[in-house]
């Protein structure tokens, strides 16, 4: 049982004034904090710069905890690999023979493809990523979905660059610190991504729900054409995310659109790539083929 607080200052003027002053400071500070919060909602990028120091502080610890848990969680995989060795060996041999057969067929196709491309003088667009890193940790107590990326300005990361994993889109860079940067994940409520259906190019907009799923809405309200299993890729509209990055798979239909699950799970993805934003000058720079290979080391 908590002891009753002696809040009554009694006859002492000094005690009365100091108690009053404490309340004045508290109320003024609370109002100032609310104003600051409203401003930082309006301008998330500017105020996120303030957070860089705390991230730089947290990142080394997160790197250590990540490597420790990584080695721990790898143990069960190693054990199960020994247990399953026999059946796996048989299965892999069967797959290998099948793969060889396919490889022959594919190499023929590849050659044909190369010739056709040379004929059309098509350029492979430069999809080379700016930098590669891995996701260290994320804000797991607040309703914002922000992850910490292990690289920052030291490797050329800058705000509003798209981030993708091997399976699909992860999000975009919010702020870049000296050695770590913040990534606004695809599933954040404020992250809106223009997408299209991979099958027929139907344009739509995906926005996060904050709980790991995405809301997908078509630009055309009249009908709801989505079916479970539809794959959504980025459309390149809006000039931030490059086109044709896999985004999500539709899970179920809803009244106004569909519920989708991201294809790349940030919790499981190992390495991520930071890409150039899809802005006109970057597109033109990529279209020019004669870029010297010896850039900055």
């Amino acid at each position: 049982m908590a002891r009753p607080a002696h809040r009554r200052p009694g006859q002492s003027r000094k005690a009365q004034y100091s108690l009053f002053a404490a309340y004045v400071i508290a109320v003024t500070g609370a109002l100032a904090g609310l104003l600051l919060a409203v401003l930082s909602v309006a301008d998330p990028v500017g105020f996120a710069q303030l957070r860089i120091a705390s991230q730089e502080l947290a990142a080394p610890v997160a790197r250590v905890t990540r490597s420790v848990t990584g080695s721990i969680s790898g143990i069960d995989d190693n054990v199960s690999a020994y247990v399953k060795a026999g059946t796996q060996n048989r299965r892999l041999r069967k797959e290998l023979t099948e793969a060889r057969r396919k490889l022959v067929a594919t190499s023929a196709l590849q050659e044909e493809n190369r010739q056709l491309k040379a004929l059309l003088k098509l350029q492979e667009t430069d999809r080379a990523a700016l930098a590669h890193g891995y996701l260290l940790t994320s804000t797991s107590t607040s309703s914002r979905r922000i992850a910490l990326l292990s690289i920052g300005r030291n490797l050329g990361v800058a705000p509003s660059q798209p981030v993708r994993g091997a399976d699909g889109l992860i999000g975009r860079v919010l702020t870049a610190g000296p050695s770590v940067s913040q990534v606004l994940l695809l599933t954040d409520v404020d992250n809106v991504v223009p997408v299209r259906r991979a099958r027929d190019g139907l344009p739509a907009i995906s926005s996060g729900r904050g709980n790991g799923n995405l809301d997908v809405r078509t630009l055309n309200i009249a009908n709801n054409p989505f079916k479970p299993g539809d794959i959504l890729v980025t459309s390149g509209t809006g000039g931030l995310y490059p086109p044709n990055i896999p985004v999500a798979i539709v899970v179920s239909r809803q009244d106004d659109g569909a519920l989708a699950r991201p294809l790349a799970d940030p919790a499981k993805v190992d390495a991520v790539a930071v890409l150039r934003p899809y802005t006109p000058d970057n597109i033109e720079a990529q279209a020019v083929p004669a870029t010297p290979p010896s850039e900055a080391p």
């Binding site: 609370a30 904090g33 957070r51 409520v189 404020d190």
Partner: protein, 173 residues
Amino acid sequence: MNRAGPRLGEPASLWRMRAVPVATVIAASALPLMLPLIANSPVLPPLGLLFFLCWQLLRTEMWPVWIGLPLGLVDDLFSGAPIGTAVCLWTLASIAIHYFAQRIYWRGFFHDWGIAALLLAAVQAAAALIAHPDAPTGRVLGLVAPQVVISALLVPFFLRLTGRFDNFRLKRR
């Protein structure tokens, strides 16, 4: 003079008495960002807020009522919430605790639990609404509802933990 051993009636170290509560709250605020956990939804309870409320419920007159301003700012820097959210909401929570401390003169364990659960729910809901002003209110509240339930159930554990830290804080040398 033998200064090595403890002396009778000697008070606890003033430095430790002041530093321990602040250090626990700051460490608890920073801890979630140091775990290798990429969360898809707000899964972890707000550890910093839990310690902040429990310290104030245990020792109401230990801190001035404006202590939420600096501690809230630190929490804002580590949690992803817009900067200023916790500055405002933690201070309001601290004012509320001082109010309850005056109204309910002899607070019991269940009083403390109830007050902490109420303030946790209010602070987390308000923080989510401030962070996402454009999103539908019902959906935003549904997002933090599981977290609020988990945090409310964890309050007794954190009260115990705070008590342990309080014993350490007031321990004679």
